[in-house]
């Protein structure tokens, strides 16, 4: 099947040719990855010198722009939300992770530690770049189901937030270990937000992710073929587990370490389960 004939932006593809258009799109993913690497390296170096730098934030903003260009390329090919193959899912997840990193970063100082978010973004984009993960022959959608589009995009977006909550959880583990074991040396402890801020960041970001996941599940139930599929069932179980964890934290209280364990384990588990479906 000729994706140029089928896809939604025939003028541009016709002008560039099939190979060039594909290359240009991949190019944006490569640029986004290089920028994220720069963000990670600058963040790591600023930690080493014990002087957290906002430059990492700038690199990640640029990476975000490149991710948008890459998503626009895939969206143009598909004529709908680009979540049709492994490459697109990884790219969308990397984009949503970067988005929440940029949005919540200024509030919780998590942004100072680009080193923690950047590796995950880089990993996801590198997976997306594995040959074959971006389908070459894409069929452009004849019609778009709004509920399906909302379900897929909101679900992946929520995973961006939940991933960031897990990243904050990993940061908490490291800081908590260093403070409890009296290892204060190095830029890692110096450049991190405080324990209290990390706990608040974990909980609040997870709430944002959970709310978006709720909207995603509702959209899934409203799809025309909205039967309660295995996929939706797993999403609902994930939703319930996050609700329990956050409910316990806000109502009864929970040590920061247990919240961090919960958020990290839940994120990894749900990701593994969804990958197997």
């Amino acid at each position: 099947m000729d994706c140029l004939k089928e896809s939604a932006d025939p003028h541009l593809k016709g002008w560039l040719g099939k190979g060039s258009y594909m290359g240009m799109g991949i190019g944006w993913v490569v640029i986004a990855t290089v920028l994220a690497i720069a963000g990670g390296v600058v963040g790591a170096m600023s930690l080493r010198t014990e002087r957290p730098s906002p430059v990492a934030f700038i690199w990640m903003t640029l990476a975000f722009g490149a991710q948008l260009m890459a998503l626009a390329w895939r969206g143009g090919l598909r004529g709908q939300c680009p979540l049709g193959d492994v490459g697109e899912i990884c790219l969308f997840l990397a984009w949503s992770l970067t988005f929440f990193y940029l949005v919540t970063g200024t509030t919780y100082r998590v942004s100072l530690l680009g080193v923690f978010t950047a590796p995950l973004v880089i990993l996801l984009q590198l997976i997306a770049l594995i040959p074959g993960f971006f389908e070459k022959n894409v069929i452009s959608a004849d019609s778009v189901d709004a509920w399906r589009e909302a379900h897929t995009s909101l679900s992946v977006l929520s995973y961006g937030a939940l991933a960031l909550a897990a990243v904050a959880g990993v940061m908490f583990f490291i800081l908590n270990y260093r403070l409890k074991s009296h290892k204060f040396g190095g830029g890692l402890v110096h450049g991190m937000p405080s324990i209290s801020r990390l706990v608040k960041a974990m909980a609040r970001i997870a709430v944002v992710g959970w709310v978006i996941l709720t909207a995603g599940i509702i959209a899934g139930l409203l799809m025309p073929e909205g039967n309660f599929s295995l996929h939706l069932m797993v999403a609902t179980i994930t939703w319930v587990l996050y609700a329990v964890l956050l409910g316990v934290y806000f109502v009864r209280g929970l040590p920061g370490r247990q919240l961090a364990i919960g958020l990290t384990v839940l994120f990894v588990l749900s990701l593994v389960v969804f990958a197997k479906l």
């Binding site: 409890k180 009296h182 040396g185 405080s194 801020r197 209280g253 920061g256 247990q258």
Partner: protein, 337 residues
């Protein structure tokens, strides 16, 4: 033509001498005017803060610091001993000294930033009064550049060098800003007072003091603006606290795991920092095994303070290098010539 600097500060002169040389804003203008009216002095800036009074002057011919010192003592009607009270620098040394002062390297609190504004103000007043020309204009502009560079490229002001300061630093690592946090001091000695004061200076709003002798607790609480709690009732307060400082003379553990375990649920498992500065220790080390408790003893705090001191020494070396390089690079008349 040469640049000279003559001054006295908190390291060379006691407060009763320093106050004799301290100048109010109005007196500062008159002093500068008097300084540059001398035929041998071409340019001059007078800096006066609570910790130092310094004269920077470009002098003509054979005049030097001795003449300047005589003039200053005459002006201030100072007849006491001058031995070790004044320090003086000439040419490049004087330029480097000014850079150190503007960078906060010569201040009582290393790296403090207030001095930068004070030097700027002193220069501005002299400039407006016609006291500076090409030499001091270039020198002071360079010193401001150096001051900014030292602050952005080094970390001389970072790190606590005392046990009380290290306690505050750790509390901030756990809580971020200490605004609105609650502190309890167990024991009413000098270390308790210092640490409570340090925490208050960073925003701790509620300070409770408890002690076996309640009178002493009341005295300390009054002194620091806190609240005294009877020793029999400190455990009940634990549910509302963020920081506990223990510094009693008790020969056994005062705070035990069961005390914290009893209030964990009520505290909703919020982080709790406990600082044990007593020898023998007041807090059972097992308390530190509770998940949300961050426990530090005197050895840890002392080690932190020592490391900060070493780091500052390294930073000072870095600052000196910056100053040397910047003065070298600048083509300053009466300095590099």
């Amino acid at each position: 033509m040469k640049l000279v600097c003559l001054g006295l500060n908190h390291e060379t002169a006691p407060v009763e001498v320093r106050e004799q040389f301290a100048l109010s804003d109005g007196a500062l203008d008159r002093e500068t005017e008097g300084l540059i009216s001398s035929k041998d002095i071409l340019e001059g800036v007078v800096l006066s803060t609570c910790n130092r009074t310094e004269y920077y002057a470009v002098v003509n011919g054979s005049s030097g610091v001795v003449e300047l010192e005589n003039w200053i003592c005459e002006q201030r009607e100072y007849h006491g001993s001058r031995e070790g009270v004044f320090y003086h620098h000439e040419a490049r040394d004087a330029a480097e000294h000014l850079c150190r002062v503007a960078s906060g390297m010569n201040s009582m609190v290393l790296g403090e930033t207030e001095i930068f504004g004070q030097v700027k103000k002193a220069y501005q007043r002299s400039l407006e009064g016609g006291g500076t020309k090409s030499v001091l204009n270039k020198l002071f502009q360079r010193a401001f550049g150096v001051g900014k560079k030292v602050r952005t490229h080094t970390a001389i002001q970072e790190g606590a060098t005392s046990v009380a300061g290290a306690s505050v630093e750790l509390a901030e690592k756990v809580f971020g800003r200490l605004n609105g946090s609650s502190v309890m001091v167990i024991g009413a000695g000098e270390m308790s007072r210092k640490t409570a004061r340090a925490l208050q200076s960073r925003g701790a709003s509620s300070v409770m003091v408890t002690n076996r002798s309640f009178d002493k607790a009341v005295d300390l609480a009054e002194e620091i603006g806190g609240r005294a709690v009877p020793f029999s009732g400190w455990e009940e307060e634990l549910a509302h606290l963020d920081v506990v400082i223990a510094a009693t003379g008790a020969p056994h553990f005062v705070v035990k795991p069961q005390h914290v375990e009893a209030v964990r649920r009520k505290r909703k498992y919020r982080p709790l920092i406990m600082v044990d500065i007593a020898v023998p220790r007041d807090i059972d080390p097992k308390v530190g095994e509770i998940e949300e408790v961050y426990l530090y003893d005197i050895d840890t705090l002392q080690e932190m303070a020592d490391q900060a001191r070493k780091r500052r020494e390294e930073q000072l070396r870095l600052c000196e290098e910056i100053i040397r390089e910047e003065i070298e690079k600048a083509s300053l008349p009466a300095v590099n010539e």
